[in-house]
């Protein structure tokens, strides 16, 4: 479906999920829409929470205001509807360099 960018392979592969936190993501859903926003959280099923997200419609749909972007705020994208995930490699690299392990918190801890 997609290939991992060679730039990232040695640095990121196996670096833990925490390196992606707060990195700007573009999540493409199965209906062709793209959601741009920083990653807030995820789980084993790859359900993704993006904060301050904007929505971009698929090709073929008339563009709307603001160059086709629409602000939607915080969103949860269920993993089963995710087609592709892109990340801002500059932010990702900077995150990797300053990597600290984010604690994995269970839901019961939060509640």
């Amino acid at each position: 479906m997609s290939t991992t960018n060679s730039l990232l392979d040695p640095e990121l592969d196996g670096g833990g999920i925490s390196q992606y936190i707060s990195v700007p993501f573009i999540v493409t859903t199965t209906d062709g829409r793209q959601f741009h926003g920083p990653l807030i959280g995820t789980d084993r099923e790859q359900n993704i929470i993006l904060g301050d997200a904007t929505e971009k419609l698929p090709i073929g749909f008339k563009s709307r205001r603001n160059e086709g972007f629409r602000y939607v705020g915080m969103i949860v994208v269920p993993g089963k509807y995710i087609l592709r995930i892109d990340a801002d490699w500059r932010a990702l690299q900077s995150n990797s360099l300053n990597r600290r392990r984010h604690p994995q918190i269970s839901i019961s801890d939060v509640l």
Binding site: S2, L12, I21, G60, R70, M74, V76
Partner: protein
């Protein structure tokens, strides 16, 4: 261009064609050749790496930002869920897109205009723009094309305005001239109303939603441009009508067309009037009244042509919510029938006209009573009207732009306590001048806040009053401190009382008396608004009636004290005048040197006119308090009978569910209800033990309680009758509220009658035998319509 575009097919049609939930599944399992937009060069595909990393997370765990809490995700939208995802809603509706360029029959255009008007009224009653006005696809298209220039706001594609072939292409004219101008008119009225509605007195999202989702409601387009467009459309329609009439065709179709054209003209005229009225909100009231007067006839003509409208529901869609800058899940269109919309418009116009009456005030006290009456109205006035009242009243931090709030405070103190006129005229050198100024400044803030609170909706009003009593309580401390200073005592000299211990005397203390009076009034409102807003459970009624009665008792004593001081002051004034006249005579005759009987400057008595005003106001107040108190007594006895009979649970009884005993004990519930008053110094909230002791019904019989209830309710009714018979000249500060005061008194009478009936019904049931209660046959309901809001009537009936 993508393959899909080249084929001319809608991209969504590949995997979804209808807006039913099953499509979500189809979207999820769509084909692999979905045309994905390119991403920016600084983005890299991490799909597989991310999936691998995600697999390392333990089941049930969440990797997240340190500062993030799950509670923050409550407002998050779930993508691909039809109930949450507005974008999905938009995409699914694309294949059924409505063509705003297409010609439409006159009847359909008429329907769109009326539906749009109903949506506007719906917005005024609390619906969001995304659920009302913005659901109209013509509005969306016009706003989408709008680039700052009016001509750009058309129904065509982005920059291609639809050319109207000729005036003969009627259906095109109806859409692209009549409807377009009407749509622009609606946008402008929404813009003008919205800008007016952004004030502290209106709660965003509670009263009205002013959010425009980043759409420009043509804020910078001058009103004159919109009005001239509307006028041109009217002229075009008039010409068309004249031409049609000249043809002398008398078939049904032509008659309908002429009817529709009439309908267009009258709707466009009404829109012009609405824009002008909204644009001139700050102008002289006469101009506003003139504009509003013209609406009556137009509204009648709009109603008469509505029957010609032919529905075109596809012109409205909630799918627009998926195209707005909005992080909300999809919400349904707020429907409002045409009849309700007209009724709302009439309510709006009548409300605005009524607000304009405030300029006919006789004294500043008239305004205070007007605000009190305004706040009591049922149903609460529309947000625009409430906002309009405060903005008309308080202009540039002054009342009507003319008087300082301090003038209103002084007028209110004078009306209530009739202090020496020298009190507010002390010169700069007086040692108390600075302290008095400081007090008046604080009083101004509290008083202004009170006016502002009166413009809120009822529930919010009560909540804000709960906060305001603390300010008034602290103001009372200030006033007492000020009036206890030696220098201020000259304005409150020791007045002899009729009692035997005349050496003690009584001091007027007008400032503290006024603050205490206003504070008690707020407390009374808070207590009794709880009944109006249905805040109390039935078993809490006896408690709150008891507390209300207690506060009314304190208020009654306070007003009686002010009355006593007034009468002593009036008698002293009479004496001094007589003495003065005598002295003048003796000076003439004997050449006396001074008028020794005249009081010191600080104690200069008020004028006879002031004394008369205060006397009348106090008499009115005591009548009102008396009626409330008697009714309270009656209700308390009636409720006690119901408690004794077992129809209503006793407030002091233990909770039904023992597991909840820890947090629902009667004492805790008592404290909860008394919370707004618990921080107040005076009057102190009685302890729970006091209430428990006084509410003990062990020595009472149901019959004697019902007897007592009947007697006191009858007393209340008689007192209301006496109060109602007061002539207008015997009442002060009621110039603006004569009619509504009479209406309120009538509702009090109805509450008395209603309660009397309930008492009789209960008596006939002979509850002593308890058969009704034991068999659970008794039904108690609260009736509010037509009764006084503070005294809803309990209706007792038997279940069938």
């Amino acid at each position: 261009m993508s393959t899909l575009e080249a084929n001319g097919a809608s991209p969504i049609s590949n995997y979804a064609t209808a807006s039913d939930p099953t499509n979500v599944q189809r979207l999820g399992t769509g084909p692999s050749n979905i045309p994905i937009p390119p991403v920016a060069p600084n983005y890299v595909d991490i799909t597989d790496v991310f999936a691998k990393e995600a697999q390392k997370i333990r089941p049930g765990e969440l990797a997240m930002l340190e500062t993030f809490e799950l509670v923050n995700a409550i407002n998050a939208l779930e993508i691909m869920d039809l109930k949450m995802d507005t974008g999905l809603l938009d995409m699914l509706s694309r294949d059924k897109e409505f063509d705003t360029k297409a010609n439409r029959a006159a009847r359909q255009v008429l329907w769109v205009m009326d539906e749009l008007f109903a949506m506007e009224m719906s917005w005024h009653t609390g619906g969001a723009l995304s659920q009302t006005v913005f659901t109209c696809l013509y509005i969306e298209q016009a706003l989408k094309n709008f680039n700052g220039c009016v001509s750009s706001a058309h129904f065509g594609d982005e920059s291609n305005e639809v050319p109207i072939s000729s005036d003969e292409d009627l259906e095109s004219v109806f859409v692209h001239v009549v409807l377009r101008e009407f749509v622009l008119g609606i946008i402008k009225t929404c813009d003008l109303s919205r800008r007016r509605l952004q004030c502290n007195e209106i709660m965003e999202d509670e009263d009205i939603v002013t959010q425009t989702y980043s759409l420009d409601l043509m804020q910078f387009v001058p009103v004159s441009k919109i009005c001239s467009g509307l006028t041109d459309a009217i002229n075009k329609m008039k010409r068309l009508k004249t031409e049609s009439e000249k043809q002398h065709v008398h078939d049904q179709e032509t008659a309908d067309l002429l009817g529709c054209i009439d309908g267009f003209i009258v709707r466009l005229e009404l829109r012009i009037l609405a824009i002008k009225a909204l644009d001139s909100v700050d102008d002289a009231p006469e101009k506003q009244i003139e504009l509003l007067t013209g609406t009556g006839d137009l509204i009648r003509r709009v109603v008469s042509t509505n029957s010609l409208a032919e529905p075109l529901p596809v012109a409205f869609s909630i799918a627009i919510q998926g195209r707005l800058e909005c992080g909300m899940p999809p919400r349904p269109k707020v429907e409002m029938s045409f009849g309700d919309a007209i009724a709302t418009l009439e309510r709006l116009i009548n409300g605005i006209r009524d607000v304009l009456r405030i300029h006919d005030y006789g004294s500043l006290g008239d305004i205070t009573t007007y605000f009190e009456e305004f706040a009591m109205r049922r149903p609460t006035e529309l947000p625009y009207v409430r906002c309009q009242l405060f903005k008309r009243f308080f202009v540039h931090r002054k009342i009507f732009g003319k008087f300082l709030m301090r003038d209103a405070v002084i007028a209110d103190i004078t009306d209530l306590c009739c202090p020496s006129p020298a009190l507010f005229a002390i010169d700069e050198s007086h040692p108390c001048r600075q302290a008095l100024d400081l007090f008046l400044t604080r009083a101004e803030v509290c008083f202004e806040n009170l006016f502002s609170i009166m413009c809120h909706n009822r529930a919010r009003l009560r909540q804000r009053l709960c906060g305001a009593i603390m300010d008034w309580d602290s103001l009372q401390v200030d006033s007492e401190h000020l009036e206890s200073s030696v220098e201020m005592l000259e304005f409150s000299p020791l007045l002899p009382t009729d009692q035997r211990s005349s050496d003690e005397g009584i001091r007027a203390l007008p400032l503290s008396s006024w603050v205490y009076f206003r504070k008690l009034q707020i407390m009374i409102w808070i207590v009794f608004m709880g009944f109006e807003l249905d805040i109390y459970r039935l078993e809490e009624w006896p408690l709150m009636l008891w507390y209300g009665d207690y506060i009314l008792g304190v208020m009654d004593s306070h007003v009686a004290r002010i009355e006593t001081i007034l009468e002593i002051t009036a008698a002293m004034r009479q004496d001094s005048t007589t003495h003065y006249t005598k002295s003048r005579k003796s000076k003439k005759n004997k050449g006396a040197k001074s008028i020794s009987a005249m009081p010191a400057s600080g104690a200069l008595p008020p004028s006879q006119e002031s004394i008369m005003r205060t006397r009348m106001w106090l008499a009115g107040l005591r009548s009102q308090i008396g009626v409330y108190k008697e009714l309270c007594h009656g209700y308390m006895c009636f409720m006690a009978a119901l408690v004794l009979a077992g129809c209503v649970r006793s407030f002091t009884a233990s909770p039904v569910d023992p597991s909840k005993e820890e947090y629902t004990t009667p004492e805790l519930l008592y404290k909860l209800r008394m919370k707004p008053f618990s921080t107040i110094g005076v009057p102190e909230v009685p302890s729970f033990e006091t209430y428990q002791r006084l509410s003990d019904l062990r020595d009472w019989q149901i019959d004697s309680l019902l007897d007592n209830a009947q007697i006191t309710v009858n007393n209340a009714r008689n007192m209301t009758d006496v109060w109602s018979k007061l002539k207008p000249e015997q009442q002060i500060n009621t110039k603006l509220v004569q009619e509504s005061s009479a209406k309120m008194r009538r509702s009090l009478t109805r509450s008395c009658v209603g309660t009397n009936v309930a008492i009789s019904v209960l008596r006939q049931m002979n509850l002593q035998h308890r058969s009704f209660v034991e068999e659970n046959k008794l039904k108690i309901s609260v009736l509010r319509d037509n009764f006084h809001p503070f005294f809803p009537v309990l209706s007792v009936s038997t279940r069938k």
